[in-house]
């Protein structure tokens, strides 16, 4: 499973700015809902999160300490 940006449908207003800005085509509208498709092309640029006006789309980071 490839980790992808997450969508909260309750917050989404379907403005589709995330679709417009996504360079890898991972974000689509299916059945009048924003869906994020799994793709290795997603480089976690976080632009979809940056442009989302309602905070519905998020790109959380896992933070880990490097093992030595």
């Amino acid at each position: 499973m490839i980790r992808m940006p997450e969508i909260d449908q309750d917050k989404c207003n379907l403005c589709a700015l995330c679709i417009a800005i996504c360079h890898c085509g991972a974000i689509v509208i299916v059945d009048n809902r924003i869906q994020v498709m799994e793709t290795e092309a997603c480089g976690w640029c976080t632009l979809c999160e940056a442009v989302c006006p309602t905070g519905a789309l998020t790109c959380p980071f896992e933070i880990t300490l490097e093992r030595r």
Binding site: R3, E62, I63, E66
Partner: protein, 223 residues
């Protein structure tokens, strides 16, 4: 797509104007569609036209002498792209690039002055919009001048990192910004700086703390 009255009404400069006023102002503006990636204007060039973003996303950025790009903001629909440069009679303070296919409305400086002479109420709305912009810039100055955001970001990373079997929290840049009391853009810049210094690695959706000791030192230096 021609200039439309209902879209003009959604722009902060013209909201609340009557139908007759809007119909008179409409011919002063032109519309333009621009493909993703194209430049709208360049930093340092004369600012001759005021632009309103109607559809899509525009990146406003500055470029350092070393060619390093610094994003000032990502403009969303109905935002004005270059009011400060237009009203300040200066060159473009930033560059603007279409991040998606976009539609903009433009109005030449001389035509804008004619609108302001004829409809002083537009001037009041512009003052209001510029005041909001100034407030945003004052907040940014405060962030950059008085707060050592990078130290706070370092602290957030250490406090939320998974360590061995202890799971860490997953955090968005927006959440880190809220925790650090700053803007998301400042967090993004701080993470980039920490990566350039070799203290962390940004590995897609993972932030790997490569040098925890150096991060701790940074927290002590910039509490």
């Amino acid at each position: 797509m021609p200039v439309e009255t209902n879209i003009l009404l959604a722009l902060p400069y013209f909201s609340g104007l009557g139908a007759t006023e809007l119909e008179n102002i409409k011919p002063m503006l032109f519309d333009k569609s621009i493909p993703r990636g194209d430049m709208i204007f360049m930093e340092g060039e004369p600012a001759e036209t005021l632009y309103f973003l109607i559809n899509g996303i525009v990146k406003l950025f500055k470029t350092s002498a070393q060619g390093k790009e610094q994003i000032i903001s990502l403009a969303r629909p109905h935002e004005v792209l270059n009011d400060v440069s237009i009203f300040g009679n200066g060159p473009n303070a930033v560059s603007a690039q279409a991040m998606t296919p976009i539609v903009i409305y433009g109005i030449k400086k001389d035509r804008l002055e004619a609108v302001l002479t004829q409809y002083p109420q537009v001037g009041v709305r512009i003052i209001r919009a510029l005041s909001e912009r100034m407030q945003q810039l004052l907040t940014l100055i405060e962030d950059l001048s008085f707060k050592h955001v990078i130290g706070r970001v370092a602290k957030i990373l250490l406090e939320n990192a998974a360590d061995g079997d202890v799971p860490g929290h997953r955090l968005t840049q927006q959440e880190m910004a809220a925790m650090a009391g700053t803007a998301r853009e400042v967090v993004a810049r701080s993470l980039k700086t920490l990566e350039e210094r070799g203290l962390i690695r940004l590995n897609r959706h993972r932030i790997v703390v490569a040098d925890a000791d150096a991060l701790k030192e940074m927290i002590e230096l910039e509490p």
